[in-house]
Amino acid sequence: MAKTRSWRWSLPALLLAGQAHATGIQLNMTPGVTDISQQVYDLHMTIFWICCAIGLVVFTAMFVSIILHRKSRGVTPATFHESTKVEIIWTAIPVLILIVMAIPATRVLIAMEDTSDSDVTVLITGSQWRWHYEYLDYDIDYFSILATPRGQIEGRLPKGDNYLLEVDRPLVIPTGKKIRFLMTSDDVIHSWWVPAFAIKKDTNPGFINEAWTQVNEPGIYRGQCAELCGMDHGFMPIVVIAKEPDDFAKWVEQEEARIAAIREEEQRLLALRMDIDEQMALGERVYLAHCAACHQPSGEGLPPMFPALKGNRVTTQDRAEHIKVMVDGRPGTSMASFARQLSLRELTSVITYTRNAWGNDTGDVVQAVEVYEYMQGKGE
């Protein structure tokens, strides 16, 4: 097992904070990899030490009093019980301390909010429970979903190093450039958080928020959704790869080519017939990655929020409705549209799969052209 340390090791780790660092346990906020994140970290440390100092003064006074001014030492209590002068002093001093804190906080905040003059813009769309990235300057967009296998989550497989913090397709950005993020949501509120960039911004359905970053060092940075967004809130991580601008340009080229190839493949696919075995194999993979979280690997769902697909009227009888739900989603429910999210091949296969798995046995073999025609018909 990747994780065998027991809790007993935590106690010394907690007490010997310095040593804990050496063993790789993070105790503090990350300074991150951007100028802003460094400033946020510095601000955090400043207020942390100020708070420690205040705590030290108050608790020292209190414990000195507890030790010295106890009845068991035979003291007689004093009788003073007010002093306007003292009250004014301990009102004024905190005000001054707060002003000292507020000045750098204001400066950093204003810098964080300035999204002007960006080089690259990415539209981030949250949905239950995946992220969609769209590069407004390039012809690139894709979904990014959790890549940790369910077996690891359920304890059937040993957990990997990046357990729950790995995705199938990370966001890729260039280093040294100002990246502007536009954020929105397709369903509930999510929050896009990458600690290394000190960005945490809610994605509000129907509204667009802005944030920006400029990453100094190439690397892989991981984060998570920070706003409770339903059942699988804990399972929608974020991975960002920052590449040198040259490498980024190469990636853009490759990615545009990949997406173009998928589109070409789709056109070719329309003329082809996929056999049921091929579709069942691909369909099962797609189903487990995209559908099983709600509808369960057994197809039994979690009614009434997530209906069973096994024996369902739509998946066993109404073929046109089945295609429509997959393409359009069901507005007002957690069932999202999968038209953008899956390739035509994947979409077709998963429909065929759900019409034949778990004893649904319709024998239907849906073809890409059928799904494509429905999508085109909508476009007109």
Partner: protein, 528 residues
């Protein structure tokens, strides 16, 4: 202070209460209703605590072992709702019922029948809430903050029951608050002028005003959730011209004063206990009253500090950052006053004092992390992580809950006529103190390291701390069983308590015998 009330005020013809269950169902006696509130709160504390145990069990190790994510979300939601509305608030109302009339020299609460109602609708509210968990699809699972549209378009059908339950809780709180205000304003004994009121009475008076102002806002926002979900309105749906962030503004306009509703009476309790056991008058009484009022007023101007990541305009963000930081000033004044009260006193350390001292230290830690959270750029990193969970549990568990426990130990001799078992009480205190810190202190670290809250499973780097926190959680849960035992033991018997069991105590409640007779102050005492 006067010593008017003696045994002749509670002779038999005054004491014509029905017996058995009817006594409790139909009671209009402030002491009975106070006991009902307190027992109810204790039961809810254990229920909400049991749910916290489920949460900590699942989080003991990475991976999903015991519950599925949907049930986990129901647990976090119900834990929050039950602890806020079922445990902390009713416990304070119970203390108010028991103590306010005795502290101001009144024979009872001003509106005794309404008092009966305000308690008896509460069990039904929670019954509805708990029943909703057994509906197909489960109970509320959108967090106790029920952000739209997760609680509207995307919630399950138990939401209607949730809304109904919250309405009843709100009505109960409003009735309780009206009663407190009317009682304090009208029923003070002759000579009990405003600036002679015990601080517990003052803090509760201010709390009651907060309740009256914000509970209707909560009622409004749950109703909007209801109509958005079932009647096709679009308050929080952009597609119909609404705004999901509007929900958060309304909710936190209720929610932030609500936080102070749960802490102001605690300030009153600590301000009663510290002078008693320091044998020295409370330092800066007037400034304590003004500080409480300032906190209450400021609490209406800080709500959006819960929403720094929602994308507010930068000037709004700055405004809420500054007002939030300002709250530290009156709060600091209170802590300094308590320390000054202890200074050069003659302290003893009975259980109520121990809990009050722990309150001061741990609440201050929670207050300082609150100042850190006010700093918006840093809040972007803290928000919705375990750092926030640590912060509000420090102020609510080792703050509000510790103060309630301190109050129970402090006034148990008055209620039962027996002294509690000091040894067991000390054991309860030390177990609670150690475990509460094992439980909540590491959450600061795990939050700073980047663990979001409200997740049933987590990345491996958080594993050690979570195991540690869970052990702290189980120990804290078990420690509270000692409390239950102490209270039951004290109610059943024990060393006879004097009318004034604490030699440093001041106030009218200590001038009636222990246990306090069923009716006290039929003739108002004269306060000098």
């Amino acid at each position: 202070m006067s010593t008017v009330t003696t045994a002749d005020h509670h002779d038999e013809h005054h004491d014509h209460k029905p017996t058995g269950i009817k006594r409790w169902l139909f009671t209009t006696n402030h002491k009975d209703i106070g006991s009902l509130y307190l027992i109810f709160a204790l039961a809810m504390f254990f229920l909400g605590g049991a749910m916290a145990m489920v949460i900590r069990l699942e989080l003991f190790q990475p991976g999903l072992q015991f519950v599925d994510p949907q049930f986990f979300n129901q647990m976090t939601t119900m834990h929050g709702l039950i602890m806020v509305f079922g445990a902390v608030m009713p416990a304070f109302t119970g203390l108010a019922n028991w103590m306010i009339p005795m502290m101001i020299g009144a024979p009872d609460m001003a509106l005794p029948r309404m008092n009966n109602w305000s308690f008896w609708i509460l069990p039904f509210a929670f019954l509805i809430l708990i029943i909703s968990m057994f509906l197909p699809g489960g109970g509320p699972d959108f967090g106790w903050t029920f952000y739209a549209p997760l609680s509207t378009t995307y919630s399950n059908d138990s939401t209607a029951l949730f809304v109904f339950a919250v309405h009843i809780m709100g009505i109960s709180s409003i009735m309780g608050a009206i009663n407190v205000i009317v009682t304090i304003v009208n029923m003070r004994a002759p000579g009990m002028t405003w600036m002679k009121l015990p601080l517990f009475v003052w803090t509760w008076l201010i709390t009651a005003f907060l309740l009256i102002m914000v509970m209707p806002v909560l009622a409004g926002v749950v109703t909007m959730v209801l109509t958005d979900k079932y009647f096709a309105t679009s308050f929080f749906d952009a597609a119909g011209g609404g705004d999901p962030v509007l929900f958060q503004h309304i909710f936190w306009f209720f929610g932030h004063p609500e936080v102070y509703i749960m802490i102001l009476p605690a300030f009153g309790i600590v301000s009663a206990i510290v002078p008693t056991f320091a044998r020295k008058k409370l330092f800066g009484y007037a400034s304590m009253v003004y500080a409480t009022a300032s906190i209450a007023i400021l609490s209406f101007l800080v709500w959006a500090h819960h929403m720094f990541t929602t994308g507010m305009p930068v000037f709004a963000t700055l405004f809420f950052m500054y007002t939030t930081m300002l709250i530290a000033v009156p709060t600091g004044v209170k802590v300094f006053n308590w320390v000054a009260t202890m200074w050069r006193g003659a302290m003893t350390f009975e259980v109520p004092m121990m809990f009050a001292l722990a309150f001061i230290v741990l609440f201050t830690i929670g207050g300082l992390s609150g100042v850190m959270l006010a700093i918006t750029p840093a809040d972007f990193q803290y928000h919705d992580t375990y750092f926030v969970v640590a912060h509000f549990h420090y102020v609510l568990v080792s703050g509000a809950v510790f103060s309630i426990v301190a109050a129970v130990y402090y006034w148990l001799p008055k209620w039962t006529g027996h002294m509690y078992d000091e040894k067991l009480g000390q054991l309860h205190f030390w177990c609670s103190l150690i475990s509460v810190n094992l439980l909540f202190f590491p959450m600061h670290f795990v939050g700073l390291a980047g663990m979001p809250r409200r997740i049933p499973d987590y990345a491996l780097q958080f594993a050690d701390f979570n195991a540690f926190v869970s052990v702290g959680g189980f120990l804290f849960g078990l420690s509270q069983l000692i409390f239950l035992w102490v209270v039951i033991k004290c109610a059943r018997g024990g060393e006879k308590a004097l009318a004034k069991p604490w030699d440093g105590a001041e106030g009218l409640e200590w001038e009636v015998p222990s246990p306090a007779p069923y009716h006290t102050f039929d003739t108002p005492p004269q306060v000098k």
